[in-house]
């Protein structure tokens, strides 16, 4: 009876995702996805800036919306990928090698959100640099592990 009531209540609740993350099974991590997403954000910001101030046609409006949507989606993807690397790949010994690791990730994740909020070339370039820095750290941890 208790389970029946809970099941009924559950229908009213919104569903979130709980990750039971797996390495499938040997640790497939790569910062390239985040790098491509960050580069896409920068490209979209540049393209949005090239558009005329006000759309003169439905097609121009459509182009703007598509570019903003793509920027949003890739900023989200970039943040997701960074969080996977941060929480799943990096280990305490990496933190000893790179004491600013948390700060670096935190800033990069914040930049993803900032780039959703604004159309700003400088912010997009900062995001690309931040993700490249993380990719460089990732590369160094891989080379020391060999």
């Amino acid at each position: 009876m208790e389970n029946f009531i809970l099941s009924f209540l559950a229908k009213l609740l919104p569903t979130k995702t709980a990750y039971a993350h797996c390495d499938v099974p040997c640790g497939i991590y790569d910062p390239k996805v985040a790098q491509i997403a960050a580069a896409t954000v920068l490209k979209m910001v540049q393209k949005i800036n090239e558009l005329p101030e006000r759309g003169k046609s439905k097609n121009e409006d459509n182009a703007l919306i598509r570019m903003v949507w793509t920027k949003e989606e890739h900023a989200r993807k970039c943040k997701d990928e960074l969080l996977i690397l941060w929480t799943d790949y990096f280990k305490p010994e990496h933190l000893q090698m790179f004491p600013n690791l948390h700060e670096t990730f935190w800033k990069a994740a914040k930049l993803c959100s900032k780039n959703k909020q604004e159309v700003n070339v400088q912010l997009a370039q900062e995001l690309v640099r931040a993700v490249d820095e993380i990719a460089e750290i990732f590369k160094k941890t891989k080379s020391t592990a060999k």
Binding site: L6, A10, Y19
Partner: protein
């Protein structure tokens, strides 16, 4: 507001207990009156929500692991987690 969260599982690390796509209910108030116990399945907030089983307990820290050890990223790789990261205890699969 209900003291419950509903989660859908993504990933293989809790197989065979939970499969990807399973929907679970989590009690957010479980650890207000009682302490976490070894064996409890819990949801933690570490940037995103993750589900694991408590394997060891220290004063303020938990060592969590997936039931599917071959395919789980857990405290073996990301080290002990803070008890503050606990969201709640898994109550049931629906």
């Amino acid at each position: 507001m209900l003291p419950l969260f509903k989660f859908k599982i993504e990933g293989n690390s809790m197989i065979p207990t939970f499969n990807p796509g399973d929907v679970i209910l989590v009690n957010r108030l479980s650890y207000l009156l009682s302490k976490p116990k070894i064996g409890d399945i819990v949801v933690l907030k570490r940037g995103r929500y993750i589900i694991k089983r408590i394997a060891k307990i220290k004063k303020k820290k938990l060592f969590v692991a997936g039931d599917n050890k071959r395919e789980s990223t857990d405290s073996r790789s990301f080290d002990w987690v803070d008890k503050k990261e606990l969201v709640g205890k898994v109550m049931l699969k629906i």
